[in-house]
């Protein structure tokens, strides 16, 4: 029976804009500073302070609108949304109610399904209330007034997996466009979900809002739970269990949602146009500037990487997993002839560095070496000046010293051994102690030869060229055979 149920899902995504300063004052927009150090009379709600729109925030909002194919309103205005809370310094949030920055637009999922956007509007963030410090509640207003865009989707999403894909795609686009860092851990991307279920061909069910979704995985888990809960409630046939219009909180520990606020407790926000901020007109110049600063978006880049650079779909996907990586990839390409090699090195070796805490680098923007250096390293490996293991060692060293790959190759003594006499001595040494394997090889099992390469490499301190060792071993075994 469950197959007959459809879920109807809409997402509201808040993204902090990557501006230098806050939406309506000159305070720095930054994360992780000591509490209440990025504040001024305006963002602490001092009497008499007035908001003035940050043009950069408007431009980033427009860039988001263009990246998502939205229709930008020629005239837009700010409204006040009222509620009382300790992290809301003015007793109202400056937001946009009935004349948002833009409407329409959307994005396409891998299946070809289109998820439409209802609107995107600009608003200011609230501060942060910290409740876990004993009797008192502490308030940090560094975040108060940070610019946000709220992207509201149409209820076009049908499954938790689609919700996940939509969020990933939205995040990717906004990151590439330089609109937002979209880092959920830093709170620069936050997501609320609206979900209802109904049987196909019947009226829509009652909509429930889900909050406290701190990762994409939570969004998926909360949706899975909530869809199941709603279906079971309807199927139970008990009117008392029927879903009601309410806001539910996702309990991460239990993997459940529970009632936070019923409809009758919903705020009357008393929206009205903010008299401190005259309506603003988006001019052609505004739009053109935003368009000029809109970089090539990930889907377009992926297509170019496969079609003109010859990368496989997988590598193209990895190279466009972040704007920083894609930009680094393209910068490295300027010094390297093989897109495939660069993608291989970045996708395997460099990304592995980020996962290894001992490397000291966690992200592309923390890399101390330049794309030119990486290209040089790839060149050393490709030309056989060092083997893969040696190149990997050099890459690690490049993270902590400013030396060029060539210098490191020499300093670390990682040049491949070209001296055949020396190689031959190591090979003979290994062959002498491996009569059984030699016999196997001689018996026609070519693969057994592989077991001999490792010990030779070990004797060489990793400096021998594996192919040369293999060739030499083969020759020596053959010689022995004919001699014996």
């Amino acid at each position: 029976m469950n197959a007959a149920w459809n879920a109807v899902i809409g997402l509201e995504v808040h993204c902090q804009l990557a501006t230098a300063s806050k939406l309506f004052c000159a305070c720095r927009n930054a994360f992780g500073e000591p509490p209440n150090t990025l504040v001024c009379p305006l963002c602490t709600g001092q009497p008499g302070a007035l908001p003035v729109l940050n043009r950069e925030a408007l431009e980033l909002g427009l860039r988001a609108a263009l990246a998502l194919g939205c229709e930008v309103a020629a005239r837009s205005k700010f409204d006040r949304k009222h509620y009382f809370y300790c992290d809301l310094p003015k007793g109202y949030q400056i937001s946009q109610y009935d004349q948002p920055l833009c409407s329409g637009g959307g994005l396409t999922l891998a299946t070809g399904k289109r998820v439409r956007l209802k609107r995107i509007h600009l608003e200011e963030d609230a501060g942060k209330a910290i409740h876990d410090r004993g009797q008192v509640t502490l308030v940090d207003l560094n975040r108060a007034g940070v610019p946000l865009i709220e992207c509201v989707s149409e209820p076009d999403i049908s499954t938790p997996a689609e919700a996940h894909e939509y969020l990933s795609a939205l995040k990717e686009i906004l990151q590439f466009a330089g609109v937002s860092e979209c880092d959920m851990e830093k709170g620069s991307l936050r997501c609320d979900v609206n979900v209802s279920v109904h049987r196909a061909g019947t009226p829509l069910g009652t909509k429930v809002e889900l909050k406290n979704l701190n990762s994409f995985a939570h969004v998926v888990a909360a949706l899975e739970y909530e869809i199941r809960r709603q279906i079971e409630a309807y199927e139970s046939g008990e009117p008392s269990r029927a879903p009601v219009q309410e806001t539910r909180l996702f309990d991460v520990q239990r993997g459940e949602t529970r009632t936070m606020r019923a409809k009758e407790d919903a705020h009357d926000y008393r929206y009205f146009p903010d008299p401190d901020l005259p309506p603003f007109h988006v001019t052609r110049e505004h739009l053109e500037r935003a368009r000029a600063h809109l970089p090539e978006l990930p889907a377009a880049r992926r297509k170019r990487y496969t079609d003109t650079l010859g990368l496989c779909e997988y590598d193209a996907g990895v190279m466009t997993s972040s704007r920083a990586l894609a930009d680094y990839f393209e910068a490295t390409l300027r010094f390297s002839s093989s897109a495939k090699d660069v993608a291989n090195w970045l996708g395997n070796e460099v990304l592995a560095l980020f996962k290894d805490p001992s490397s000291g680098v966690r992200a592309v923007d923390e890399l101390t070496f330049k794309p030119f250096d990486l290209a040089q390293l790839i060149e050393l490996a490709d030309s056989g000046k060092t083997n893969r293991a040696g190149a990997r060692t050099i890459l690690r060293a490049m993270c902590s010293t400013p030396k060029a790959p060539r210098e490191l190759l020499r300093d670390l003594g990682l040049e491949q051994i070209e001296d055949t006499a020396q190689l031959e001595r190591w090979c003979r040494e290994v062959l002498a102690g491996s009569e059984r394997i030699v016999a196997e090889v001689r018996g026609g099992n070519e693969k057994a030869l592989g077991a001999l390469i490792g010990p030779v490499m070990k004797l060489s301190g990793g400096k021998a060229k594996p192919q040369a060792v293999r060739d030499l071993l083969g020759r020596l075994i053959a010689e022995r055979g004919s001699a014996g």
Binding site: P41, T44, G45, Q46, P47, G48, A49, L50, P51, V52, L53, R80, H82, F84, Y85, C86, P89, K90, G91, Y92, T137, V139, D268, R270, Y271, F272, P275, D276, L277, P278
Partner: protein, 471 residues
Amino acid sequence: MSARAALATALDRIERYDEDIGALLEVDAAGAAARAAELDRSESHGALHGMPFVVKANMCIEGRIASCGSRMLEGYRAPYTASAVQRLIDEGAVPIGIANMDEFAFGSSGENSSFGSTRNPWDLSRAPGGSSSGSAAAVAARMVPFALGSDTGGSVRQPAALCGVTGYKPTYGVVSRHGLIAFGSSLDAVGVLATSAADVERVLAVISGADERDATSALRAPFEPAPARTDLRGLRVGLPREYFPADLDGRVRQPLEQALDDLRRLGAELVELDLPTTRHAIAAYYVVATAEASSNLARYDGVRYGARIAGDGSLQGMFAATRGAAFGAEALRRILLGTYVLSSGYYDAWYLRALKVRRAILRDFQAAFERVDVLAAPTSPTPAFRLGEKLSDPLAMYLCDVLTVPTSLAGLPAISVPCGCAAEDGVELPVGLQLIGPAFEDARVLSVARCYQAATEHHRRLPPLVAGGVA
């Protein structure tokens, strides 16, 4: 005159009169003395060199009281200085005190101050008008040559009329609101109280002009006074019939008719006309102004500054207890009214309709200004009333603003100039003539007032209390 001498005169008069009048909440004699000495030492003198002034308690001066006449902000000191005040300081004027006011500028008598009523220097048993009560009384008693006030629906003009001084509300946007603690943001204007239109012009020239810290400030050059005019020939003065009702208080009508005669004698042509939307203005004003006030006063929640009362210990309980106890009755009344008109289900019927009326009022004025250059009217329906007389009747108090709110809704420049006195119970009570101009014709309004004052003496008359002590 040296800054120190001007300051000494001001402090002396404050010492002598303010105990009776109660115009000022705080006097910064030491700070002002230091500033005056510094100014006198400096080689270059600003446009207002050494002029002492006081500021209504809803304008910020760093480190000074900015209580808005409210318990809610008792002890609150501004962390920064308002643009208008800063411009005055930069031109050599010396802030010496903070003036009393109706709580958050809600009132027309000065009696709504949490810190006691200011008294009218002409008769200490009467109200000075409001809400810029202390600013008007301080100028009337000649404690200072000028004061800053704020005018949302008449709060500069009405107390100016009742105290016999010149009070000016500029076109909305001509003076930055940055640092003016908001009441009704779309109506609030920083205004000037002085003893003549000429002094208003000197001050306005300093405080006006675009300010990047106020998005509603007009992108215009600072005000420049119009050349002096010796008469008013060629000037068409409109007399809106709605401002001269048949039952207009005789104490106001008589001096006003004299003033109209004076204007005519100066060469002005007087034209009667209609502003039919006038009768809707009070209703529309009290919807728009309270809606904005309810929003602007939402920040007083006990969290960051000002009063805090714990209540039941919960956050919402603290908000409720703080706001319930620290706001006065009139503030609570306006917050409730404003909250109501913005509530879902009522917004269209109240707030949106009031905005429509507001636009109609503006159109009325615009039509009138196609026929005339300025409008003339009384400023207040009555001269100063007795303290306590209207306190228990909010509606009667609201009607004090009936002649000033239409111009506020339309954002127009308007001045009140003394035009004589009405005698009552053996005391003289000043009456104000209001002159209103089209938007951004501030110079026209002020030049007409200046011409009128050059030909008359009313603005020079002193309250009996201070007449002997002021040369």
